[in-house]
Amino acid sequence: MTMHRLIYATSPAVNSSLHARTSINGVAAVCDPLGGLYLPESRALVVSDLHLEKGSAFARRGMMLPPYDTLATLRILEAVIARHDPATVISLGDNFHDRKGSAAMPDTFREMITAMACGREWIWINGNHDPDGAQGLPGASMDELRHAGLVFRHEPSRRDGIGEIAGHLHPSATVRRRERSVRRACFATDGKRLVMPAFGVTTGGLDLRHREMSGLFDRQQLVAHMLGRDRIYSVRFANLLG
């Protein structure tokens, strides 16, 4: 899956992809198969759970994961920004895998982000992994943002979810047909609120049926917009698992 996003983000065919159009509490939105949500009316691009510097966070604790995850995630981010040319980029928290990540990130990556942010507004929403905000990077850090009729926060609210775009849960969905199953990261929305797929290349997923997910959505209306190779596959919750 990641592989496809990596190859695909850097391939010339990138503009022929099939997006899924949806709306959240009346605001139009486009689910991009690279994992970003574009809001055409306000020209804002939303991404979530980049988990940058995850490899080095593990290396500090003695697990030498490949040091290439930050670069790979940023490459896909570059591609999705190039495609939509947004006025605002909103990164919905867990931008870094841990508190030390943003300060420890090598300069080359810092420069890539600075170049992407050039001429745009950039918002870092704080997440549970990185509550102290992004250090030494362009843009503003905040816990929550109200913008264009929507509210943007890291963790989905249990009380007030209408018109909310959130991350944190890394939703994924499983489709089963004829005894075979396929699992993919997805945008999860019931038309009132939306939970973003994790954008970072080494972030796993949590199934929509997991109890952490329960109570958030009206399951009658819930649709999983699953990330395919070069298009979004939209599947109703009731039709997951066939």
Binding site: L6, P67, N239
Partner: protein, 846 residues
Amino acid sequence: MDRIDSPSPEGDALTLPAPFLRWFAEKGWRPRAHQLELLSRAEAGESTLLIAPTGAGKTLAGFLPSLVDITRRGRIPPGAPFTGIHTLYISPLKALAVDIERNLMKPVGEMGLPVSIENRTGDTPQSKRQRQKLNPPDILLTTPEQLALLLANGEAERFFKNLHYVVLDELHSLVLSKRGHLLSLGLARLRRLAPRLQTTGLSATVADPMDLQRWLVAQSLARENHAGLITVSGGAKPEISILRTENQVPWAGHSARYAIPDVYAAIKKHRTTLLFVNTRSQAEMLFQELWTINDDNLPIALHHGSLDVAQRRRVEAAMAENRLRAVVATSTLDLGIDWGDVDLVVHVGAPKGASRLAQRIGRANHRMDEPSRAILVPANRFEVMECQAALDANYVGAQDTPSIGKGALDVLAQHILGMACAQPFDALELYEEVISAAPYAQLPWETFERAVDLVATGGYALRTYERYARIRKTQDGLWRVSNPMVAQQYRLNVGTIVESPMLNIRMVKRNQRGSLGRGGMSLGKVEESFLEMLSPGDTFLFSGKVLRFEGIRENECLVSQAFSFDPKVPSYAGGKFPLSTYLAAQVRKMLADPARRAGLPDQVRDWLALQGDVSMLPRDDELLIETFPRGSRHYMVIYAFEGRLAHQTLGMLLTRRLDRAGLKPLGFVATDYSLAVWALDDMGFAFRARAPSLGQLFDEDMLGDDLEAWLNESFLLKRTFRNCAVIAGLIEQRHPGKEKTGRQITVSADLIYDVLRAHEPDHILLEATRNDAATGLLDIGRLGSMLKRIKGHITHRRLDQISPLAIPVMLEIGRESVHGEAQDFLLTEAADDLINEAMGGHGTEG
């Protein structure tokens, strides 16, 4: 080689110390010739491999040199300087170490020998382990993992310096796989710590004893070294038959349901029956079916590796006390443990290998001079031929044990870290030690250096982790661990058996309001991937019960009692052995030679005769390929007989080639015997027109670029990579403080694999993954030798319709799991459902 099958001449026994002679005399026994022979060679300083059938007194033979030596030495007086252990016994199974302790204590007690014996396994309490380090027994019985842990300790040198003998039980099984590689490296270290070390290998019959003889001693570039060999022949020939039945033998499938009444009748006629099957799902099914017709309420039990440990122990105990009439089991019971008075072995499904069959049959009857009885129950028609071939093989004594294989690099990395935990090491010294282990004898220095680098910082070209290094080369030129946490991590993750993500299964009840209760009985474990396929309300077989899947709560799978008789049987991944090369060749010969088919049942002979009329029966060096239309598709069936794994790889590669030739292949399915590919275009017509020719299509060059290209987009390697990454210590199974299980591995190995392959395709762990896949999951080696063999021997039959021989593989279509590109196809289909729904159910096709 010495063949020894007679009792010893009286005189030799006199070399034994008095307590031994007295004991033999009291029992009215005489030491067997091979026992004395092994003793005299050991006393002459030789390492030896003893190959003997079950019941030949192998265990006593293996320990005799130790017992005699310790007896002559006498008990160590209290207050004497620390001596360390004298003999190390290593077995592949914890249970075997415990079993041996019991069996060895008896004669030692009766002879009154001054020998202390203890075992040390994963179950040994911490306090006892500590005490063993301070005050070790003379003989320590343990497993390869425990040896690795002992060697990674700072006290290892003191503990092992007086080690005299290492006895390796069930050596043919110990040396296989990565576990054997780790053990070979441990043995290399032991040889350095204890210069007078001698090894004794105990083994069942193997195809090539020299492999094991080399494995037992230090290898060097200068000359070839190998241990001596003692072979005990004899043992009564087993009485094996293939189940004869009035019922129709099925064309395909593995259930053998048709034979259940006959199997039940056989159980009734014997005292205790062991029923072996190849997979856990087969075990569940067979158990269920037997109980359905168990009108006499015979005590029949179930035993497989996924069941709760307590339940398994209960079955084993009941078996040892002869309280059971039958046990349905998978390979968990394969090795040489004595399970009471078994007088019949029933093997359901084809044995897949002649040696495996011999091992399992050896189970019935541990007395060497009485014949074992066994019945083979083929599950389908090809298996009838396979059983016949295995049966012939058992009589001619042919063996098809797998070869040991080249030492794995992930295991090497684990060992290097372990050695750093023991004491600082010099890289060149450690390298020389490593290449003295047979599986690593050919390891280049450069590869060793890369493995050290992998341990230190992950071995990446991008050197950003130097400051986090786990081991560092210090000024004295020695490598040492950076901090104590590293050693702690090593200890928690030692070993080469990687758990696949499993969930505990717990039985719950619904209360009156319909919600689920808590805290019922735990039944065992099941793969997470299997549960992902289930929806609440689905039923499946486990632990001999039909269960209803209720859902997943925290880390447990909740189930309730189902009142259904048609469960969805678990399809466990793995556990399926591919058909051995040897048996495959025998089945091909049987097809080619009418005389070899004489012993087959009528229905199978009729089937083959019809095939001869409609199409043909290939010669044994010939590859038959049939093409025929069916429905709107065109089929090609390839009768390669190379096992399911090699066929799957062939299928992947062929579809790429057919696609390039414009023949529009749609899919393929593989069995142990053949491979079917289907396409939109008429492949038979294209082959006639030589566009492409079959020679081109099956050319060996498919293992070059096509294979490489396929691997680059395949999902198949991910599972292999996960194992390599865990064994090499790149990903932890358990982290200090949080003893995580397989399911909770903190990062997704799949995602790491993707990132690594995109950025550093030559990384040492990817190399290790490809090496593993070539021999394991993809069986490329075997495919390669097949392509070579069939060159110029391909026969094409273009038929109007399906042939008799094609029926089994055609029936498998639709049962296969899905890979790669087909995944997106399924997603499209699911998304189309949404479109159909939106269109009010009137959506158009295509």
